[in-house]
């Protein structure tokens, strides 16, 4: 349901269409709930991973889309969350402790990086955040005793309770979907609060923000920290989904792909985060089917094509289509117009 919050655009037609929206929302929830029961484990994993990356992209959106900062470090926070929960599980600690450890550690590292980074902008900020995955990957390889080195860590967490009768892929799907829905709802509420307005003000005009009593640096640090926490949480969900983590997962390429996903989906849109993640997860499968050798090239072509056709991303483009259709229908029924 949380997705719908972003779709509720405050326009004149709001009073006439709440039913339509509730029905769409209910239909979406039912489809998502039934999906893993009838689809293949592979299809389930695709949707689960889409939701995982959607959370990471949402974190990036808070920083990039809302606050107007840039970061190439999201894969490192993803890695901190993932290793946090995996290492804890490896030592036999309960999963909630691992979750807490991973997310809090990501937030703390995020905050520590943010304090100096918030005074930078543009390329300088990009460069300093670039160092995060550059440091994190070798670190994960070297700390072999804890992290399992280059081999990574295989873990078994969030097993399906017996009474559910669900297969692992189905249970993991539900766990990830619930986690993602929760943090999406939290972000939606934050965006609608005065914090959301303040983040926007920092992006649009720092002098304006300051005149309203917004401490610009503090809000940048806050956005960076939240972004890291979301990245860390996405990492935890990733380990739930695949029960494995290795240094290869948190390489810089992931950071870049997440940024590309954000651009594809569209900034400042919850739906956009999901669509961007779906692009990242699903399109490589399709291009791989088409031509295994040229998969990357084709993926790049798709990316370019989407950005050329929809420069502001898929979600804003969809939004415009929906509004045009609704507008035309509204005009058609308006008497004597």
């Amino acid at each position: 349901m949380s997705l719908m919050i972003d779709l509720v655009k405050p326009d004149g037609g709001a009073a006439r269409r709440p039913y339509g929206r509730m029905l769409t929302g209910a239909a979406l929830v039912i489809v998502l709930a039934v999906f893993p029961l009838v689809m293949s484990p592979f299809a389930n994993l695709q949707v689960t991973l889409t939701l995982v990356y959607a959370v990471a992209i949402l974190g990036l959106d808070i920083l990039v889309g809302w606050t107007g900062q840039v970061s190439l470090g999201q894969s490192a926070f993803f890695g901190i969350g993932a290793y946090g929960v995996a290492v804890c599980a490896d030592r036999g600690w309960p999963v909630w402790a691992g979750l807490l450890f991973g997310v809090v550690l990501a937030g703390v590292v995020g905050c520590l990086v943010a304090v100096p980074a918030a005074r930078l902008r543009g390329y300088a900020l990009g460069m300093i955040t670039l160092t995060l995955p550059v440091v994190a990957v070798p670190l994960a390889k070297r700390l072999e005793v804890v992290t399992g080195g280059a081999q990574g860590l295989n873990v078994t967490i969030a097993e399906a309770p017996e009474w559910t009768g669900l297969a692992a892929d189905q249970w993991h799907y539900y766990v990830v979907a619930a986690g993602a829905a929760l943090v999406f709802a939290l972000a939606a509420a934050l965006r609608r609060s005065h914090f959301g307005r303040a983040f926007d003000a920092v992006r649009v005009d720092e002098a304006l923000a300051t005149a309203q009593g917004v401490h610009v640096t503090r809000y940048k640090v806050l956005a960076f920290t939240l972004s890291a926490v979301y990245g860390g949480f996405a990492g935890v969900l990733y380990v739930v989904a695949v029960q494995f983590i290795s240094p290869e997962t948190l390489i810089l390429t992931l950071s870049i792909s997440l940024l590309a996903g954000l651009a594809i989906g569209g900034l400042r849109s919850l739906l956009g985060c999901v669509l961007g993640a779906a692009f990242y997860v699903v399109v490589p499968n399709v291009t791989g089917e088409v031509s295994a050798g040229q998969s990357y090239l084709l993926y790049g072509v798709c990316l370019l094509a989407v950005m050329l056709l929809m420069p502001r991303g898929v979600a804003p483009a969809l939004d415009r289509v929906v509004r045009n259709v609704a507008g035309r229908r509204g005009r058609a029924v308006a008497p004597g117009d």
């Binding site: 004149g12 002098a207 300051t210 009593g213 610009v216």
Partner: protein, 269 residues
């Protein structure tokens, strides 16, 4: 803090403390002296006009009050408190609000959201309570929205509260800025060229509006404006700057006929 109201006078209150006291203010940029030894007083509840040709230093003076520019000498006191040492983001809590010469809005957000931003400092609460959408926070938000709608109605913007602010004409954007400034419940309001982009009739309405909000909101106002009709209509007292120096001060009429002011305006025209 009670705001002492004075009516009739010019705000040059000998022996009494003025609400705003600017003293020996000097501001230099590399090569340019934007303000030099500027000093004047504004009495509580008064409307002070700040006039002068482009580049005279009017906006720079506002930026010193706001804390964006750090003057090299001088002081500014508001309600007896030195405001130059207060960081820019704290100014709103001292009761200082402003509009910008070029409207600074969030173009994608609705007009209502833009006004609500002005109430930022009145909303307490932690990130966590905002994320959890706790009822207390939502109640405060609703109350603030009601207040914002009243201000929009007052400014003649009731019909456009859900329009993206960037879609409004220039003159309306400037009024959105006034509503936003008022929502912070200021005691001192700085208006930077509020009449630019308005039609002749609208300027008349703006004048009435400024006088009305001064009375209703217990405000002291400093208004930068080129529109002499507006200055004559609303101000108790006018300060004229030319090239960063104060060249005249007094009633609107006296300042308008001051030979130095006249020649400065003719010189740039």
């Amino acid at each position: 803090m009670a705001v002492r109201r004075e009516t009739g006078g010019w705000g040059v209150n000998h022996g009494m403390q003025a609400f705003v006291e600017v003293r020996d203010l000097t501001l230099r940029f590399s090569g340019v002296t934007a303000l030099e030894d500027v000093g004047f007083d504004v009495g509580g509840g008064q409307i002070c006009g700040l006039v002068g040709p482009n580049g005279a230093g009017k906006s720079s003076l506002f930026n010193c009050v706001s804390g964006y520019y750090r003057p090299s000498a001088g002081s500014i006191r508001v309600a007896g408190q030195d405001v130059l040492g207060v960081p820019a983001h704290r100014k709103v809590r001292l009761g200082i609000a402003r509009t910008f010469q070029h409207p600074a809005l969030q173009p994608e957000r609705t007009v209502l959201d833009n006004v609500l931003l002005g109430g930022h400092s009145t909303l307490p609460g932690s990130v966590l309570s905002a994320m959890l959408a706790l009822p207390g926070g939502r109640r405060r938000e609703r109350a603030l929205a009601a207040e914002a709608r009243e201000l929009l109605a007052l400014l003649g913007l009731a019909g456009v509260e859900r329009t993206p602010a960037g879609d409004l004409p220039y003159g309306s954007q400037k009024r959105v800025e006034i509503a936003r400034a008022l929502l912070s419940r200021p005691r001192l309001l700085l208006l930077d060229e509020p009449a630019s982009g308005l039609t002749h009739a609208e300027v008349g309405e703006l004048g009435e509006l400024i006088t009305r909000i001064r009375a209703d909101h217990d405000l002291t106002v400093i208004v930068v404006e080129h529109h002499m009709g507006l200055i004559s209509a609303v101000t108790d007292h006018v300060v004229a700057l030319v090239g960063g120096r104060k060249v005249a001060e007094g009633t609107a009429q006296a300042v308008q006929s001051d030979p130095v002011v006249v020649s400065a305006y003719l010189g740039v025209a």
